[in-house]
């Protein structure tokens, strides 16, 4: 039985196959409408989420399957003190596959050790969020037609942003990808990621605090939100939250075919006036998230 806990669980070939499957689902949705008939997905969300949970649920419904689950810890037995392991042992009796979000890092790994059905990590605190990374990769492929030979800018909170860390790790598998890391000093990419991923794989990267000076080079601009929930100190959050706000003016020097991605939700880091720019693909990215999750569910349930 296979799980998806960390993007590193997937080989480059498996990522390619998932992207290919998602593209086929987009092209021929009718072929997939009954693929998961009589199968159930359990969405165990111990922490609130709009996109990820609804995306998993929509994915399962579009495959003809059904969904059970809860959307906050308060409405589960976790509120009575039940362990993660006991919760998934129980849910394994009812569902064919589990998608779990949990505020504690490593909870989905614990779940996968106890479950008798496949477990998908739908986000564990500031740690991993592999289906977001798959979503990002699918979006890049659909917008640029490739995952190699790209200059990718990451802007905002590069310290706590788990989507940034996972996407950097995933893109480091491909040839000639250059990273441009734009953040305030306090939210720079952690040194262990620079050392263990970028330097270990001899990737080209530059660090800067100035978005406008580097924007002309970028093929992809991946914007992120400064996340209030990752700060222990409200004062630091307030000081840093408005560091970068993307506006049409700042996009003036960017390539005409640059793609702007964002894992969402956004607060104010992308002005809504940018939404109508054809380079803004973050809502297409949301839709891609559903398709890649459909592909993933099919793979883990071993449905052809």
């Amino acid at each position: 039985m296979k799980n998806l806990i960390d993007i590193r669980d997937l080989s480059t070939e498996e990522i390619r196959q998932l992207i290919e499957k998602a593209n086929d689902i987009i092209a021929h949705p009718e072929t997939y409408r009954e693929k998961c008939r009589y199968k159930k997905l359990a969405t165990l969300f111990f922490e609130p989420s709009t996109r990820t949970r609804l995306s998993f649920e929509a994915a399962m419904y579009e495959l003809g399957g059904q969904v059970i689950g809860f959307s906050e810890a308060a409405s589960s037995s976790a509120a009575k003190g039940e362990s993660v392991a006991d919760t998934v042992r129980t849910v394994s009796c009812y569902a064919d596959i589990i998608a779990m979000r949990h505020p504690k890092e490593g909870a989905p790994l614990v779940a996968s050790m106890a479950a008798t059905v496949p477990v998908i990590n739908a986000g564990d605190g500031g740690h991993n969020h592999p289906t977001q990374t798959l979503t990002d990769l699918l979006t890049i492929v659909r917008e640029k037609g490739r995952l190699d030979n790209l200059t990718v800018g990451f802007c905002g909170d590069l310290k706590f942003g788990r989507t940034v860390h996972s996407l950097i790790a995933a893109l480091s598998r491909y040839d000639n990808v250059k990273f441009v890391l734009v953040s305030p000093e306090e939210l720079k990419l952690p040194s262990y990621i620079k050392k263990e991923i970028l330097q270990a794989k001899h990737m080209q990267y530059v660090q800067t605090t100035d978005l406008e000076s580097v924007i002309p080079e970028l093929d992809i601009l991946y914007m992120t939100r400064v996340q209030r929930e990752r700060f222990f100190n409200e004062e630091d959050y307030l000081r840093l939250k408005d560091s970068y706000i993307l506006t049409p003016d700042k996009l003036a020097g960017a390539k005409k075919d640059m793609a702007i991605l964002h894992p969402l939700p956004r607060v104010n880091e992308i002005s809504t006036t940018v939404d109508s720019d054809p380079r803004a693909v973050y809502f297409k990215q949301v839709l891609n998230g559903k398709f890649i999750r459909m592909a993933l569910i099919l793979k883990l349930l071993e449905v052809e």
């Binding site: 504690k104 790994l109 605190g125 740690h127």
Partner: protein, 138 residues
Amino acid sequence: MNIDSIQNGIVLDHIKAGKSMEIYNFLQLDKLSCSVAIIKNVNSRKMGKKDIIKIDTNLDVDLDVLGYIDPDITVNIIRGGALVEKKHLKLPAQVKGLLKCKNPRCITSVERELPHIFKLTNPSSRVYRCIYCEAKAE
């Protein structure tokens, strides 16, 4: 200084000088009723100074734990007064129950009876990370 040779047991040799008490405590040798000798600051050609521990019983030592504390230790197995096996340790790929994850965001901080497990992620700098949250062992 004379210390009786042991008949059936183990000798932990090439312990870094000064580390023997740490190993004595880790292996809980205070709970044994047999003879245990701690020999400190012995002259060594290879190491300059070293410590040695002799244990006069067939103790089942957790070599992974020992390897984590000091991968340069040699474990000599003695039977009938003679050396029958010499084991060279190495850094274990994984250690279970020896280290505690200190990351307050880690699932180990709340999940009951979950074993704390660390894996070796960088052998050259001896970095171990929690298998759940990937926090570095302190």
